[in-house]
């Protein structure tokens, strides 16, 4: 087993060289340092509220297994939103929620989103919903931009 002492750094070195080399020359390589807009708007989450990945959100959307709530302003929502998403702008959440609440089945996961890495209205809305007793509340960080980038179903009204 003494050979492990030199084999481990050698395997690591091969991995680093291959990883960085291929990433540099390929199409679709990623930068070594994450861009600000790629970072999650929700750096920490615990308990029942969590970030959700775009892939998992897309699957739940396709299966109609989650309720999507757009936390952006009404004008932004009208210009374009995730298909079938409800609109509850964060600053109007308390007053709007009374009329929208019956449309949200309690057993379904709820996914909130807004747009941009610095946007935190979806986080606040998610906290608001969690406080109201919704058990599965997720945030889709930078949701609208990433949803469009993936070419997932959208609507405008």
């Amino acid at each position: 087993m003494k050979q492990a002492i030199w084999q481990i750094p050698a395997i690591l070195a091969f991995s680093v060289v291959l990883g960085l080399g291929v990433n540099h020359f390929r199409d679709g390589g990623i930068p070594l340092v994450r861009q600000a807009n790629q970072q999650s708007a929700t750096p920490s989450a615990a308990g029942d509220r969590s970030d959700i990945s775009i892939n998992r959100a897309a699957r739940l959307h396709q299966e109609d297994a989650a309720v999507f709530i757009d936390a952006r302003a009404e004008s932004e929502y009208r210009a374009g939103h995730i298909k079938a998403a409800l609109n509850v702008p964060w600053h109007k959440a308390e007053e709007m929620f009374v009329e929208i609440a019956p449309d949200i089945p309690r057993e379904k996961p709820v996914i909130t989103y807004c747009d941009g890495a610095s946007c935190n209205s979806s986080d606040k809305l998610a906290e608001f919903l969690t406080d109201l007793g919704f058990e599965q509340v997720f945030v889709l960080p930078n949701g609208w931009s990433r949803w469009q980038e993936k070419g997932l179903p959208t609507a405008s009204s």
Binding site: M1, K2, Q3, A4, I5, W6, Q7, I8, A10, I11, L12, F14, S15, V16, L18, G19, L20, V22, N23, G28, G29, I30, P31, L32, V33, R34, Q38, Q39, S40, P43, S44, A45, A46, G47, D48, S50, D51, I52, S53, I54, N55, R56, R59, Q136, F138
Partner: protein
Amino acid sequence: MNNVNTMTAPNRIFPLFTILVRLVLGGIFLYAGVPKIFDPAGFAETISLYQILPAPWIHPVAIVLPWLETLLGACLIFGIWLPGAVVMVNLLLFAFTGALVFNYARGLNIDCGCFTGNSTDSITLLTLLRDLVFVCMSVFLFFAVRRLSSLKRP
């Protein structure tokens, strides 16, 4: 006298079983590593959702880790640099299992990201049990390789 003929049944089975575990674990690592090589962005997102690594580490890990898994898988399958590969496989599996247990315990409902960069599988008790089986296999392999390499010494 031919040594093979004097070997007891367990002694004959042990090397064969070790090879089998090596091939299975190597296949698992290849299966886990190769798809992530083709989707570094998706894998970076999965790592990010784990909320364990500091942000500056996420992309370097997303770039290098899939290659490390793939190389380790190849080492196990082809029997190259086995002592080093087996130690690394153990370290990685303990780290992966630790990360899964950590997030399962704190209730983060995120993608496992275990076998592809953009998986949609959540972390469940079944995921943890599956990883524990892999850990058992890798620990067995560690002791098996150590034993076999000590037998080879003059």
